[in-house]
Amino acid sequence: MKVIVVGEIPFLTEVGQVCLAAGHETHLYLAEDMQSAQENGRLWQQLSDADVAIELYHESLSDKRQLLRALSQGLSARALILSSALNSSATQAASWLDAPQRVVGFAVLPPLGATGVVELARALQTADAALAEAQAFWQEMGWETAVVADGPGLVRARTVCCLINEAASAVLEGVASAADIDQAMRQGANYPRGPLAWADYLGLDAVLGVMQALFAEWGEDRYRPSPLLRRLVMAGRLGEKSGIGFYVHKAKP
Protein backbone atom coordinates (compact mmCIF):
# COMPACT_ATOMS: atom_id res chain seq x y z
CA MET A 1 0.00 0.00 0.00
CA LYS A 2 1.07 3.55 -0.55
CA VAL A 3 0.88 5.53 2.66
CA ILE A 4 1.34 9.27 3.15
CA VAL A 5 2.17 10.42 6.67
CA VAL A 6 2.16 14.13 7.54
CA GLY A 7 2.79 15.41 11.02
CA GLU A 8 5.36 16.38 13.57
CA ILE A 9 8.07 14.74 15.65
CA PRO A 10 7.84 12.31 17.38
CA PHE A 11 4.45 11.17 16.02
CA LEU A 12 5.50 11.42 12.37
CA THR A 13 8.67 9.38 12.73
CA GLU A 14 7.15 6.75 15.02
CA VAL A 15 4.00 6.13 12.97
CA GLY A 16 6.14 6.32 9.81
CA GLN A 17 8.41 3.62 11.22
CA VAL A 18 5.41 1.36 11.91
CA CYS A 19 4.21 1.75 8.28
CA LEU A 20 7.70 1.20 6.86
CA ALA A 21 8.25 -1.90 8.99
CA ALA A 22 4.97 -3.30 7.65
CA GLY A 23 6.36 -2.98 4.14
CA HIS A 24 4.17 -0.11 2.97
CA GLU A 25 5.49 2.40 0.47
CA THR A 26 5.68 5.19 3.02
CA HIS A 27 6.16 8.89 2.35
CA LEU A 28 6.81 11.14 5.35
CA TYR A 29 6.28 14.91 5.44
CA LEU A 30 7.07 17.20 8.32
CA ALA A 31 4.01 19.39 8.87
CA GLU A 32 6.00 22.57 9.41
CA ASP A 33 7.65 22.11 5.99
CA MET A 34 4.24 22.36 4.34
CA GLN A 35 4.66 26.16 4.39
CA SER A 36 7.23 25.73 1.64
CA ALA A 37 5.78 25.58 -1.86
CA GLN A 38 8.44 23.09 -2.91
CA GLU A 39 7.60 20.59 -0.14
CA ASN A 40 3.92 21.12 -0.77
CA GLY A 41 4.47 20.33 -4.42
CA ARG A 42 6.36 17.15 -3.52
CA LEU A 43 3.48 16.01 -1.32
CA TRP A 44 0.90 16.90 -3.96
CA GLN A 45 2.61 14.68 -6.55
CA GLN A 46 2.34 11.65 -4.27
CA LEU A 47 -1.29 12.02 -3.29
CA SER A 48 -3.30 10.95 -6.34
CA ASP A 49 -2.44 7.25 -6.14
CA ALA A 50 -2.02 6.97 -2.35
CA ASP A 51 -4.17 4.44 -0.47
CA VAL A 52 -3.99 5.93 3.01
CA ALA A 53 -3.13 9.41 4.29
CA ILE A 54 -2.28 9.74 7.96
CA GLU A 55 -2.45 13.20 9.54
CA LEU A 56 -0.67 13.78 12.84
CA TYR A 57 -0.70 17.51 13.40
CA HIS A 58 -1.50 18.68 16.91
CA GLU A 59 -0.55 22.30 17.41
CA SER A 60 -2.69 24.66 15.45
CA LEU A 61 -6.26 23.80 14.58
CA SER A 62 -6.32 26.13 11.59
CA ASP A 63 -3.14 24.55 10.18
CA LYS A 64 -4.60 21.10 10.79
CA ARG A 65 -7.69 22.12 8.86
CA GLN A 66 -5.62 23.51 6.01
CA LEU A 67 -3.48 20.36 5.89
CA LEU A 68 -6.46 18.00 5.89
CA ARG A 69 -8.16 20.00 3.15
CA ALA A 70 -5.03 19.90 1.01
CA LEU A 71 -4.74 16.14 1.53
CA SER A 72 -8.38 15.47 0.65
CA GLN A 73 -8.15 17.58 -2.51
CA GLY A 74 -5.16 15.64 -3.78
CA LEU A 75 -6.29 12.16 -2.78
CA SER A 76 -8.50 9.92 -4.88
CA ALA A 77 -12.06 9.25 -3.75
CA ARG A 78 -11.17 5.73 -2.60
CA ALA A 79 -8.29 6.81 -0.30
CA LEU A 80 -8.68 6.54 3.45
CA ILE A 81 -7.87 9.54 5.67
CA LEU A 82 -6.74 8.79 9.22
CA SER A 83 -6.86 11.95 11.29
CA SER A 84 -5.16 12.07 14.66
CA ALA A 85 -7.97 12.74 17.13
CA LEU A 86 -5.71 14.35 19.72
CA ASN A 87 -6.44 18.02 19.22
CA SER A 88 -9.83 17.73 17.56
CA SER A 89 -12.60 15.19 17.44
CA ALA A 90 -12.82 13.09 14.29
CA THR A 91 -16.19 14.70 13.66
CA GLN A 92 -14.64 18.16 13.68
CA ALA A 93 -11.85 17.03 11.33
CA ALA A 94 -14.36 15.40 8.97
CA SER A 95 -16.51 18.54 9.00
CA TRP A 96 -13.75 20.44 7.20
CA LEU A 97 -13.76 18.13 4.19
CA ASP A 98 -15.93 17.70 1.12
CA ALA A 99 -15.84 13.91 1.50
CA PRO A 100 -16.15 13.47 5.29
CA GLN A 101 -17.23 9.83 5.02
CA ARG A 102 -13.63 8.77 4.26
CA VAL A 103 -12.24 10.19 7.52
CA VAL A 104 -11.59 7.97 10.55
CA GLY A 105 -10.19 9.34 13.81
CA PHE A 106 -7.33 7.50 15.45
CA ALA A 107 -4.88 7.99 18.29
CA VAL A 108 -1.54 6.62 19.36
CA LEU A 109 0.58 7.85 22.23
CA PRO A 110 4.37 7.71 21.78
CA PRO A 111 6.74 6.17 22.53
CA LEU A 112 5.37 3.37 20.34
CA GLY A 113 6.58 -0.19 20.16
CA ALA A 114 6.70 -2.21 16.94
CA THR A 115 3.13 -3.21 17.70
CA GLY A 116 0.56 -2.08 20.21
CA VAL A 117 -3.00 -0.90 20.43
CA VAL A 118 -4.40 1.88 18.26
CA GLU A 119 -7.54 3.72 19.26
CA LEU A 120 -10.02 4.31 16.43
CA ALA A 121 -13.03 6.58 16.52
CA ARG A 122 -15.66 7.13 13.91
CA ALA A 123 -16.76 10.62 13.13
CA LEU A 124 -20.54 11.04 12.86
CA GLN A 125 -19.87 11.30 9.12
CA THR A 126 -17.63 8.20 8.83
CA ALA A 127 -18.84 5.48 6.44
CA ASP A 128 -18.97 1.90 7.82
CA ALA A 129 -16.60 0.79 5.08
CA ALA A 130 -14.02 3.42 6.03
CA LEU A 131 -13.98 2.30 9.68
CA ALA A 132 -13.58 -1.33 8.58
CA GLU A 133 -10.71 -0.35 6.26
CA ALA A 134 -9.02 1.56 9.08
CA GLN A 135 -9.27 -1.47 11.37
CA ALA A 136 -7.89 -3.75 8.67
CA PHE A 137 -5.04 -1.31 7.92
CA TRP A 138 -3.75 -1.43 11.52
CA GLN A 139 -4.49 -5.10 12.11
CA GLU A 140 -2.53 -6.09 9.02
CA MET A 141 0.45 -4.26 10.51
CA GLY A 142 0.09 -6.43 13.63
CA TRP A 143 -1.69 -3.86 15.77
CA GLU A 144 -4.73 -4.40 17.96
CA THR A 145 -7.55 -1.92 17.49
CA ALA A 146 -9.93 -0.50 20.07
CA VAL A 147 -12.90 1.42 18.74
CA VAL A 148 -13.89 4.12 21.21
CA ALA A 149 -16.30 7.05 21.09
CA ASP A 150 -15.16 10.19 19.31
CA GLY A 151 -13.76 13.15 21.23
CA PRO A 152 -10.44 14.98 21.58
CA GLY A 153 -7.63 12.80 22.93
CA LEU A 154 -9.76 9.65 22.85
CA VAL A 155 -8.85 7.58 25.95
CA ARG A 156 -5.10 7.57 26.46
CA ALA A 157 -3.97 11.02 25.37
CA ARG A 158 -6.92 12.55 27.25
CA THR A 159 -5.86 10.80 30.46
CA VAL A 160 -2.11 11.30 30.10
CA CYS A 161 -2.36 14.94 29.03
CA CYS A 162 -4.61 15.67 32.04
CA LEU A 163 -1.93 14.07 34.27
CA ILE A 164 0.70 16.23 32.58
CA ASN A 165 -1.45 19.34 32.99
CA GLU A 166 -1.94 18.65 36.70
CA ALA A 167 1.81 18.06 37.13
CA ALA A 168 2.48 21.36 35.32
CA SER A 169 0.07 23.13 37.69
CA ALA A 170 2.00 21.68 40.64
CA VAL A 171 5.30 22.99 39.17
CA LEU A 172 3.75 26.41 38.58
CA GLU A 173 2.55 26.55 42.19
CA GLY A 174 6.02 25.63 43.46
CA VAL A 175 4.80 22.38 45.05
CA ALA A 176 7.94 20.54 43.94
CA SER A 177 10.50 20.48 41.14
CA ALA A 178 9.68 18.80 37.82
CA ALA A 179 12.25 16.09 38.56
CA ASP A 180 10.77 15.36 41.99
CA ILE A 181 7.22 15.26 40.62
CA ASP A 182 8.28 12.77 37.96
CA GLN A 183 10.20 10.70 40.48
CA ALA A 184 7.19 10.73 42.82
CA MET A 185 4.80 9.50 40.13
CA ARG A 186 7.17 6.75 39.00
CA GLN A 187 7.96 5.44 42.45
CA GLY A 188 4.84 6.37 44.41
CA ALA A 189 2.28 5.39 41.77
CA ASN A 190 4.32 3.08 39.49
CA TYR A 191 3.79 5.25 36.40
CA PRO A 192 5.85 4.08 33.42
CA ARG A 193 7.27 7.59 32.90
CA GLY A 194 7.17 10.80 34.83
CA PRO A 195 4.37 12.93 33.35
CA LEU A 196 6.67 15.89 32.67
CA ALA A 197 9.37 13.82 30.99
CA TRP A 198 6.57 12.25 28.95
CA ALA A 199 5.38 15.74 28.00
CA ASP A 200 8.88 16.68 26.85
CA TYR A 201 8.93 13.57 24.68
CA LEU A 202 5.48 14.14 23.15
CA GLY A 203 6.14 17.83 22.58
CA LEU A 204 4.59 20.47 24.82
CA ASP A 205 2.81 21.95 21.82
CA ALA A 206 1.06 18.63 21.20
CA VAL A 207 0.10 18.33 24.89
CA LEU A 208 -1.22 21.89 24.88
CA GLY A 209 -3.16 21.08 21.70
CA VAL A 210 -4.91 18.20 23.47
CA MET A 211 -5.77 20.31 26.52
CA GLN A 212 -7.07 23.21 24.41
CA ALA A 213 -9.22 20.82 22.42
CA LEU A 214 -10.62 19.18 25.58
CA PHE A 215 -11.29 22.60 27.09
CA ALA A 216 -13.04 23.77 23.92
CA GLU A 217 -15.06 20.55 23.68
CA TRP A 218 -16.29 20.39 27.29
CA GLY A 219 -15.82 23.91 28.62
CA GLU A 220 -14.93 22.46 32.00
CA ASP A 221 -12.33 23.79 34.43
CA ARG A 222 -10.64 20.41 34.66
CA TYR A 223 -9.34 20.84 31.12
CA ARG A 224 -8.08 24.40 31.44
CA PRO A 225 -4.48 24.34 30.20
CA SER A 226 -1.93 25.20 32.86
CA PRO A 227 -0.51 28.69 32.23
CA LEU A 228 2.97 27.19 32.61
CA LEU A 229 2.33 24.84 29.68
CA ARG A 230 1.13 27.79 27.60
CA ARG A 231 4.13 29.92 28.53
CA LEU A 232 6.64 27.18 27.74
CA VAL A 233 5.06 26.72 24.31
CA MET A 234 5.04 30.49 23.71
CA ALA A 235 8.74 30.58 24.55
CA GLY A 236 9.43 27.79 22.06
CA ARG A 237 10.39 25.35 24.81
CA LEU A 238 8.62 22.37 23.28
CA GLY A 239 10.57 19.57 24.95
CA GLU A 240 13.11 17.18 23.46
CA LYS A 241 12.61 18.36 19.89
CA SER A 242 13.67 21.90 20.79
CA GLY A 243 16.29 20.96 23.38
CA ILE A 244 14.38 22.39 26.34
CA GLY A 245 10.97 21.95 27.93
CA PHE A 246 10.40 21.02 31.55
CA TYR A 247 13.95 19.66 31.36
CA VAL A 248 17.07 20.78 29.53
CA HIS A 249 17.96 18.22 26.86
CA LYS A 250 21.02 17.97 24.70
CA ALA A 251 21.05 20.78 22.22
CA LYS A 252 19.85 19.70 18.80
CA PRO A 253 22.42 20.27 16.01
Partner: protein
Protein backbone atom coordinates in the same frame (compact mmCIF):
# COMPACT_ATOMS: atom_id res chain seq x y z
CA UNK B 1 20.28 10.30 64.63
CA UNK B 2 19.93 6.84 66.17
CA UNK B 3 16.57 6.40 67.78
CA UNK B 4 13.25 6.50 65.98
CA UNK B 5 9.84 6.33 67.63
CA UNK B 6 6.73 5.36 65.69
CA UNK B 7 3.37 6.39 67.13
CA UNK B 8 0.52 4.21 65.90
CA UNK B 9 0.79 0.53 64.97
CA UNK B 10 -1.62 0.30 62.06
CA UNK B 11 -0.42 -0.89 58.65
CA UNK B 12 1.55 2.29 57.98
CA UNK B 13 3.08 2.55 61.45
CA UNK B 14 4.24 -1.05 61.39
CA UNK B 15 5.71 -0.65 57.92
CA UNK B 16 7.62 2.48 58.97
CA UNK B 17 8.89 0.73 62.11
CA UNK B 18 10.02 -2.21 60.00
CA UNK B 19 12.02 -0.18 57.47
CA UNK B 20 13.51 1.95 60.26
CA UNK B 21 14.75 -1.12 62.14
CA UNK B 22 16.10 -2.64 58.92
CA UNK B 23 17.82 0.67 58.24
CA UNK B 24 19.77 0.31 61.48
CA UNK B 25 17.78 2.56 63.81
CA UNK B 26 16.78 1.67 67.37
CA UNK B 27 13.00 1.70 67.04
CA UNK B 28 10.40 2.10 69.73
CA UNK B 29 6.72 1.78 68.85
CA UNK B 30 3.79 3.15 70.79
CA UNK B 31 0.05 2.73 70.44
CA UNK B 32 -2.75 3.94 72.68
CA UNK B 33 -4.50 0.60 72.11
CA UNK B 34 -2.81 -2.02 74.31
CA UNK B 35 -3.83 -4.97 72.17
CA UNK B 36 -2.57 -3.41 68.94
CA UNK B 37 0.70 -2.58 70.67
CA UNK B 38 1.02 -6.11 72.05
CA UNK B 39 0.58 -7.55 68.54
CA UNK B 40 2.81 -5.05 66.78
CA UNK B 41 6.20 -6.68 67.37
CA UNK B 42 4.86 -10.10 66.28
CA UNK B 43 3.32 -8.64 63.12
CA UNK B 44 6.44 -6.66 62.20
CA UNK B 45 8.57 -9.75 62.89
CA UNK B 46 6.35 -11.84 60.62
CA UNK B 47 6.65 -9.24 57.87
CA UNK B 48 10.46 -9.25 58.20
CA UNK B 49 10.42 -13.08 58.07
CA UNK B 50 8.36 -12.89 54.90
CA UNK B 51 11.07 -10.66 53.42
CA UNK B 52 13.66 -13.28 54.36
CA UNK B 53 11.56 -16.07 52.82
CA UNK B 54 11.33 -14.06 49.59
CA UNK B 55 15.05 -13.46 49.55
CA UNK B 56 14.66 -9.68 49.97
CA UNK B 57 16.29 -9.55 53.41
CA UNK B 58 19.23 -11.66 54.58
CA UNK B 59 18.89 -13.64 57.79
CA UNK B 60 21.47 -11.73 59.84
CA UNK B 61 19.97 -8.36 58.94
CA UNK B 62 16.57 -9.68 59.96
CA UNK B 63 17.77 -10.92 63.35
CA UNK B 64 19.57 -7.63 64.05
CA UNK B 65 16.56 -5.58 62.97
CA UNK B 66 14.20 -7.51 65.23
CA UNK B 67 16.60 -6.98 68.14
CA UNK B 68 16.41 -3.21 67.53
CA UNK B 69 12.61 -3.14 67.85
CA UNK B 70 10.80 -2.60 71.12
CA UNK B 71 7.48 -1.28 72.38
CA UNK B 72 6.68 1.25 75.04
CA UNK B 73 3.49 1.89 76.99
CA UNK B 74 4.57 5.46 77.65
CA UNK B 75 4.16 8.22 75.10
CA UNK B 76 6.61 10.32 77.14
CA UNK B 77 9.23 7.63 76.72
CA UNK B 78 8.58 7.42 72.97
CA UNK B 79 9.09 11.18 72.79
CA UNK B 80 12.72 10.77 73.90
CA UNK B 81 13.70 9.49 70.41
CA UNK B 82 15.68 11.62 67.94
CA UNK B 83 12.91 11.32 65.34
CA UNK B 84 9.27 10.70 66.22
CA UNK B 85 7.05 9.64 63.31
CA UNK B 86 3.32 9.83 63.85
CA UNK B 87 1.06 7.37 62.00
CA UNK B 88 -2.29 7.60 63.81
CA UNK B 89 -5.71 7.94 62.10
CA UNK B 90 -6.27 11.00 59.84
CA UNK B 91 -7.99 13.25 62.35
CA UNK B 92 -6.71 16.80 62.73
CA UNK B 93 -7.69 17.22 66.41
CA UNK B 94 -6.28 13.80 67.36
CA UNK B 95 -2.96 14.56 65.67
CA UNK B 96 -2.72 18.11 67.01
CA UNK B 97 -3.30 16.89 70.59
CA UNK B 98 -0.71 14.16 70.12
CA UNK B 99 1.91 16.56 68.74
CA UNK B 100 1.25 19.12 71.50
CA UNK B 101 1.95 16.41 74.08
CA UNK B 102 5.03 15.11 72.27
CA UNK B 103 6.35 18.65 71.94
CA UNK B 104 5.93 19.26 75.66
CA UNK B 105 8.04 16.28 76.74
CA UNK B 106 10.47 15.69 73.84
CA UNK B 107 14.08 16.89 74.09
CA UNK B 108 14.87 20.08 72.20
CA UNK B 109 16.67 18.32 69.34
CA UNK B 110 13.88 15.82 68.63
CA UNK B 111 12.33 16.10 65.17
CA UNK B 112 8.58 15.49 64.99
CA UNK B 113 7.22 14.09 61.75
CA UNK B 114 3.76 13.17 60.51
CA UNK B 115 2.91 10.45 58.01
CA UNK B 116 -0.33 12.26 57.13
CA UNK B 117 -1.49 11.93 53.54
CA UNK B 118 -4.24 14.54 53.68
CA UNK B 119 -3.68 17.04 56.48
CA UNK B 120 -1.60 20.20 56.31
CA UNK B 121 1.87 20.00 57.87
CA UNK B 122 1.57 23.63 58.97
CA UNK B 123 -1.74 22.85 60.70
CA UNK B 124 -0.04 20.10 62.68
CA UNK B 125 3.17 22.06 63.35
CA UNK B 126 1.01 24.86 64.72
CA UNK B 127 0.16 22.74 67.76
CA UNK B 128 3.86 22.64 68.74
CA UNK B 129 6.58 25.16 69.53
CA UNK B 130 9.05 23.52 67.18
CA UNK B 131 7.95 24.39 63.68
CA UNK B 132 11.60 24.37 62.64
CA UNK B 133 11.93 20.71 63.72
CA UNK B 134 8.63 19.57 62.26
CA UNK B 135 7.88 18.08 58.84
CA UNK B 136 5.89 15.51 56.91
CA UNK B 137 7.28 12.10 56.00
CA UNK B 138 4.65 10.60 53.74
CA UNK B 139 5.29 6.89 53.14
CA UNK B 140 3.25 4.93 50.63
CA UNK B 141 1.34 1.74 51.31
CA UNK B 142 2.78 -0.89 51.74
CA UNK B 143 5.58 1.11 53.37
CA UNK B 144 8.07 -1.77 53.43
CA UNK B 145 7.80 -2.15 49.64
CA UNK B 146 7.05 1.26 48.12
CA UNK B 147 10.27 3.18 47.50
CA UNK B 148 8.93 6.70 47.75
CA UNK B 149 8.75 9.10 50.69
CA UNK B 150 7.36 12.60 50.20
CA UNK B 151 9.29 14.93 52.51
CA UNK B 152 6.92 17.80 53.18
CA UNK B 153 8.23 21.07 54.52
CA UNK B 154 6.12 23.46 56.52
CA UNK B 155 6.66 27.21 56.47
CA UNK B 156 9.05 27.04 59.42
CA UNK B 157 10.84 23.74 58.75
CA UNK B 158 14.58 24.40 58.90
CA UNK B 159 17.12 23.31 56.29
CA UNK B 160 18.85 21.21 58.98
CA UNK B 161 15.61 19.33 59.66
CA UNK B 162 15.12 18.67 55.95
CA UNK B 163 18.71 17.44 55.66
CA UNK B 164 18.27 15.14 58.68
CA UNK B 165 15.04 13.77 57.20
CA UNK B 166 16.71 13.21 53.84
CA UNK B 167 19.46 11.24 55.58
CA UNK B 168 16.87 9.14 57.42
CA UNK B 169 14.96 8.40 54.19
CA UNK B 170 18.15 7.34 52.40
CA UNK B 171 19.22 5.12 55.31
CA UNK B 172 15.90 3.25 55.30
CA UNK B 173 16.43 2.57 51.60
CA UNK B 174 13.83 4.94 50.21
CA UNK B 175 13.83 7.78 47.69
CA UNK B 176 12.95 11.22 48.99
CA UNK B 177 11.13 13.87 47.00
CA UNK B 178 10.74 17.34 48.47
CA UNK B 179 7.39 18.96 48.50
CA UNK B 180 5.78 22.16 49.79
CA UNK B 181 2.84 21.87 52.18
CA UNK B 182 -0.08 21.91 49.73
CA UNK B 183 -3.23 19.74 49.74
CA UNK B 184 -2.61 16.08 48.75
CA UNK B 185 1.12 16.84 48.25
CA UNK B 186 2.44 15.37 44.96
CA UNK B 187 1.29 11.83 44.21
CA UNK B 188 -2.28 11.95 45.52
CA UNK B 189 -2.82 15.22 43.69
CA UNK B 190 -1.17 14.59 40.33
CA UNK B 191 -2.80 11.14 40.11
CA UNK B 192 -6.37 12.52 40.40
CA UNK B 193 -7.00 12.65 36.62
CA UNK B 194 -6.00 8.99 36.24
CA UNK B 195 -9.18 8.09 38.13
CA UNK B 196 -11.24 11.17 37.31
CA UNK B 197 -10.89 10.95 33.53
CA UNK B 198 -11.50 7.19 33.55
CA UNK B 199 -14.74 7.68 35.51
CA UNK B 200 -15.85 10.50 33.23
CA UNK B 201 -15.09 8.50 30.10
CA UNK B 202 -17.06 5.59 31.53
CA UNK B 203 -19.93 7.93 32.36
CA UNK B 204 -19.86 9.42 28.86
CA UNK B 205 -19.82 5.96 27.28
CA UNK B 206 -16.47 6.59 25.56
CA UNK B 207 -15.48 2.98 26.24
CA UNK B 208 -16.27 0.23 28.73
CA UNK B 209 -14.30 -0.67 31.86
CA UNK B 210 -12.05 -3.39 30.37
CA UNK B 211 -11.29 -1.28 27.27
CA UNK B 212 -10.23 1.78 29.28
CA UNK B 213 -8.04 -0.41 31.50
CA UNK B 214 -6.55 -2.24 28.52
CA UNK B 215 -5.72 1.01 26.71
CA UNK B 216 -3.96 2.58 29.68
CA UNK B 217 -2.01 -0.60 30.39
CA UNK B 218 -0.95 -0.61 26.72
CA UNK B 219 1.08 2.58 27.34
CA UNK B 220 2.83 1.17 30.39
CA UNK B 221 0.62 1.76 33.43
CA UNK B 222 0.91 -1.44 35.49
CA UNK B 223 -2.81 -1.42 36.30
CA UNK B 224 -5.78 0.19 34.63
CA UNK B 225 -7.69 2.83 36.61
CA UNK B 226 -10.64 0.55 37.37
CA UNK B 227 -8.44 -2.37 38.42
CA UNK B 228 -6.59 0.06 40.66
CA UNK B 229 -9.77 1.52 42.20
CA UNK B 230 -10.99 -2.04 42.92
CA UNK B 231 -7.67 -2.80 44.62
CA UNK B 232 -7.63 0.42 46.67
CA UNK B 233 -11.34 0.08 47.46
CA UNK B 234 -14.04 2.25 45.88
CA UNK B 235 -14.81 3.69 49.34
CA UNK B 236 -11.19 4.70 49.98
CA UNK B 237 -10.87 6.10 46.45
CA UNK B 238 -14.02 8.19 46.91
CA UNK B 239 -12.93 9.48 50.30
CA UNK B 240 -9.49 10.50 48.98
CA UNK B 241 -11.14 12.23 46.00
CA UNK B 242 -13.60 13.98 48.30
CA UNK B 243 -10.85 15.10 50.68
CA UNK B 244 -8.72 16.59 47.88
CA UNK B 245 -11.83 18.32 46.50
CA UNK B 246 -12.64 19.77 49.92
CA UNK B 247 -9.02 20.70 50.68
CA UNK B 248 -9.05 22.86 47.53
CA UNK B 249 -12.42 24.40 48.53
CA UNK B 250 -14.45 22.55 45.88
CA UNK B 251 -12.10 23.28 43.00
CA UNK B 252 -14.19 21.82 40.13
CA UNK B 253 -11.35 19.83 38.55
CA UNK B 254 -11.16 17.58 41.61
CA UNK B 255 -14.91 16.95 41.89
CA UNK B 256 -15.82 13.28 42.52
CA UNK B 257 -17.96 11.45 39.96
CA UNK B 258 -21.48 10.11 40.67
CA UNK B 259 -20.31 6.63 39.62
CA UNK B 260 -17.95 6.59 42.62
CA UNK B 261 -20.76 7.25 45.06
CA UNK B 262 -23.04 4.74 43.36
CA UNK B 263 -20.38 2.05 43.69
CA UNK B 264 -19.94 2.77 47.39
CA UNK B 265 -23.64 3.01 48.20
CA UNK B 266 -24.37 -0.26 46.43
CA UNK B 267 -21.64 -2.02 48.42
CA UNK B 268 -19.46 -2.68 45.38
CA UNK B 269 -16.24 -1.69 47.05
CA UNK B 270 -13.86 -3.71 44.91
CA UNK B 271 -11.80 -6.78 45.68
CA UNK B 272 -12.55 -6.69 49.38
CA UNK B 273 -16.28 -7.22 48.84
CA UNK B 274 -15.85 -9.56 45.87
CA UNK B 275 -17.28 -7.05 43.44
CA UNK B 276 -16.37 -3.60 42.25
CA UNK B 277 -15.92 -2.58 38.62
CA UNK B 278 -15.02 -6.24 38.11
CA UNK B 279 -16.52 -9.39 39.60
CA UNK B 280 -14.03 -11.32 41.77
CA UNK B 281 -16.39 -14.06 42.94
CA UNK B 282 -16.19 -16.25 39.87
Amino acid sequence: MNRVAVIGTGTMGRGIAQVSALGGYEVVVYDVFEQALANAITLIGASIDQGVARGKIDRETAVAAKARLCITHSLDEAAQADLVIEAVPEDLKLKQDLFARLDAVAPRHTILASNTSSLSINSLAGSTHRGDRFLGLHFFNPAHIMKLVEVITGDDTSAETVAAAAEYVARVGKTAVFCKDTPAFIVNRVARPFYGEALRMLGEGVADVPTIDRLLKSVGFPMGPFELIDLIGCDVNLSVTQSVYDAYFQEPKYRPHPIQRRMVESGRLGRKTGRGFYDYQH
